[in-house]
Symmetry: C2
């Protein structure tokens, strides 16, 4: 079932349907392995230029909206998506196999993060204004009047994720933060959920029209393979890129962006195995509950979450044996759920074959397969630290509910691993926080893991990312292309801004956020250094 009319649909460039000349695609219902929904035409490489040009033109007006107007627009986007929520969820269920409850939560998150950015923009915090009034009598040189703020970078191309058809797709975190910053967005639709994408795009386009904004503020483009995307990244009007997907896809875009005559920033969220380190004292508590919590986190959304625990370090001794026995029991009671696409499912099968073909890797346990197609049960394998550190491929992500348990013999082995692993989105410790020995060990590990991950957790599971002011969803390469930033939360807006200063401008020429009358009532930090000792 889909609520889109059963006609052929097209890209939505600056509010108008744009018929692609590169053929058509249809979604696949992964629960049935059958095509579903209408056809979508895909653009040829030359056709997406129009979206870039419209975005460049729209930027001139969109970036100059008052904070209040931009906040109102973001709120309307949120409301329009909410209003179309039933159709969007129904379409997404068919196209992605994700259950209604998950998609209902994801829609709420998508709406809420748009509203969060509306609040932030209405406050004006994102301008990061700093002023230093003139000091004509300063010696040896007078100080000029200086006013610093952040400006939007310009049109942004966003590549959506397969695994969050709403919250990290058409109106997801990258789109919301770029629009909040004042950047028009060209969204490269994910072809695994083309109908969901179009419904959300229509909600955004309606908000653009509702607010009489230039239509080029938002476009949705369908294109097969990577050609159209890479071509957009090369377009001189594009000033930044947001991406969520594979390491291969992300590094390709990084290379394209770096090779431009004018290189541009790329924010690619790519791959992470999210190590979890289970210390002795954690298992001495309720080891059964710990194992069940682990498998629930592993199998949720079929393990297709950027922060799924794909690597867990377990003591090599008998307490660890007990824990893994509990993991095996938990797996036996767990059924697989439909994966997003047949391709993702078969990649996971291949990945597990590579794992088990390696000497020193054994299977701990496996859940049952679900009733639908592509519903592979969750699986846990095990090896030891030496094997893990010797074979780099054991630290590569297998997307889905597959986890490698690595048995460690000593605290020293854990520290060695923590200092050698690649960059991660998250790193997690489980311990009894009343156990002085493990707290001391955890303190050492936090110091190592904070250098490797964007978020460090204790006694929780990394899946489930809170959207707020203090969250970080990022991390050193290869977790992301730019570990300085976050793609979730208020700080995500910073990715699409740059600094500019104004020196000795008369008040008549001051942009509103830095104006001494502060007409938008934005936070201004004035003469900060003189307030310090």
């Amino acid at each position: 079932m889909t609520t889109l009319p059963d006609a052929t649909h097209h890209s939505l460039i600056a509010g108008e349907p744009a018929k692609g000349t590169d053929g058509v695609v249809r979604a696949i219902d992964p629960a049935r392995n059958e095509e579903t929904g209408p056809e979508f035409t895909t653009l040829a490489e030359s056709q997406e230029q129009a979206a870039a040009e419209a975005a460049a033109e729209a930027f001139g007006i969109y970036r100059k909206l008052t904070d209040a107007d931009r906040a109102a627009f973001l709120t309307t986007v949120a409301e329009n998506i909410n209003a179309a929520g039933e159709e969007i969820i129904a379409t997404a269920m068919t196209e992605t196999g994700l259950p209604q409850q998950r998609l209902t939560g994801e829609l709420a998150r998508t709406v809420n993060q748009l509203k969060m950015f509306a609040k932030l923009v209405a406050n004006g915090d994102h301008h990061s204004v700093r002023t230093e009034p003139a000091l004509p009598d300063r010696t040896p040189l007078p100080r000029p009047d200086l006013r610093q703020r952040k400006l939007p970078l310009g049109p942004v191309v966003v590549f959506g994720a397969s695994n969050f058809p709403l919250a990290f797709s058409t109106a997801g975190g990258d789109t919301a933060s770029a629009l909040a910053a004042g950047c028009p967005v060209i969204f490269k639709a994910h072809l695994a959920h083309p109908g969901t994408g179009l419904l959300v795009a229509q909600a955004i386009a309606k908000a653009v029209a509702d607010h009489n904004l230039p239509a080029g503020v938002f476009s949705l483009v369908y294109g097969r393979g990577t050609t159209v995307g890479q071509s957009l990244v090369k377009h001189p009007a594009i000033k930044a890129v947001g991406f969520t997907g594979s390491r291969f896809g992300g590094t390709s875009i990084m290379a394209t962006a770096a090779a431009r005559p004018e290189p541009i920033p790329v924010y690619a969220e790519m791959s992470s195995v999210n190590p979890v380190m289970v210390l002795d004292s954690a298992i001495k508590g309720d080891s059964t509950a710990l194992a069940e919590g682990f498998i629930t986190s592993l199998n949720g959304s079929a393990g297709q979450l950027c922060t799924v625990p794909g690597l867990i370090f377990v003591p090599g001794d008998e307490t660890g044996d007990t824990f893994l026995a509990n993991v095996k029991n938990a797996l036996a009671e767990t059924a697989g759920v439909t994966m997003l696409t047949p391709g993702i499912c078969s990649s996971r099968v291949q990945g597990e074959k590579r794992l088990t073909s390696m000497p020193g890797v054994t299977e701990v346990g496996r859940g049952t397969d679900g009733q639908t197609a592509n519903a592979l049960g969750p699986a846990v394998f095990s090896t030891d630290v030496e094997t893990f550190l010797t074979h780099k491929e054991l630290s590569e992500e297998i997307f889905g509910a597959t986890c490698l348990a690595v048995r460690y013999a000593s605290a020293g082995e854990l520290q060695k691993v923590a200092s050698r692993i690649e960059g991660q989105l998250t790193a997690t410790l489980h311990l009894d926080t009343e156990d002085p020995g493990d707290v001391a060990l955890a303190a050492d590990l936090v110091e190592l893991l904070e250098l490797k991950a964007g978020r460090v957790l204790v006694n929780g599971w990394p899946t489930g990312v809170d959207v707020g002011d203090a969250i970080v969803h990022g991390g050193p390469f290869p977790a992301t292309s730019d570990g300085r930033s976050t793609s979730v939360g208020t700080a995500a807006i910073d990715r699409f801004q740059r600094l500019v200063a104004y020196q000795n401008l008369p008040a008549a020429l001051h942009p509103a956020p830095v104006h001494e009358d502060n007409p938008w009532d934005v936070p201004q930090r004035t003469d900060f250094l003189s307030q310090l000792r």
Copy 2:
């Protein structure tokens, strides 16, 4: 004259002299075109690995200093440089040809910016702490305790500038901001002022020893050509690069950094012609004073400043003729001063030859040559907007006191130029701020120029960069490699930090800046979103 002993000197790796095996270099006194000062051995490519390894080891300790300890260290660096000021200035005068007054001012700036970062670090603002305490009763999901802060990236390689042997060299802005962030620094010495570099490096190394810090916190390396520098950029221990120099040098380093297995950020400040637009009303005032101010800005430090006005837009009518006649008079009364190196001087001569060989470019006037070697007089050439926009090479930087005056026929031509020029460090407007027509035109131009430059000025000259909280010394490519940032002022510290969040850590595991007891008394932004409407 130099105050370094007349022996052979070496790189200073982690506090110890490291004899290079790739030959020796000596400085050249550009005022006499003669070698001066002692010999310095240059490292072979393999030899600088030791500096990277020492920096990586030092990072583990250095990054964990308390804010107070790191601030005290930065203050000692400043004091040690100040204490050696006389020797440093004498050596720099011989090696660079810059006059004592300029170097005295530059030394003060170098010391003051270290002290500014010490103040900033002591305050703790740079941690950018945000906290969101747990909300166990939030629906539909409880909120975990989340604490966000910024962490130093790791060891940084800094390439110094020829034109600021102190403020943008060994202990200059990049070094100061990286050390302030908690990053060890490996400084690639500029071979135009090797003795100055060593004296400053010794002052830093003494501060490292004074504070009992790991010696790898700072190293100075001499290497010929780009081999040693590029090799350091490739070293896996290096996590960021600061660079000030040519577009060719900067883009080479960008390419190397992007091609690493783990790409790293590069902050390269490269080239800028700093357009100045003189509106009609500015000339109707004191056109003679305006012309004199222009030539003073152009010829200061022999025009060898990143922000020198290399491009000035002048009305095509008679008022513009009058202004350029005044410029010619000002030039006639101005003598050239010694340039930094014979190579820089001959590049400038070649650049001016290319200019005058182009059809449509004529010479407006030229100052006299100075009495020393390499003291080419300042020169101004002119062309029209059409010629300027047709020949891209006319917008390329000629380093030194060379400026191209472009005659414009209309406000429309100025707007066209403002929308087409490449990224710049600065853009300047001159106008009578009581003239309503020119204020309206200036408002349009500010909106165009703020997209192209890091700093927009009115009725001043771009040379002379104030070091404070609201300054921006940056700008879109090719002015810098990363227009989001600044290399001068407090915000420069941000370039060497990344975000990390801690979720549900017990207080015993909280790093000090995010700890609820706030033992370092740092600014913490708590529950920000709940305070917004």
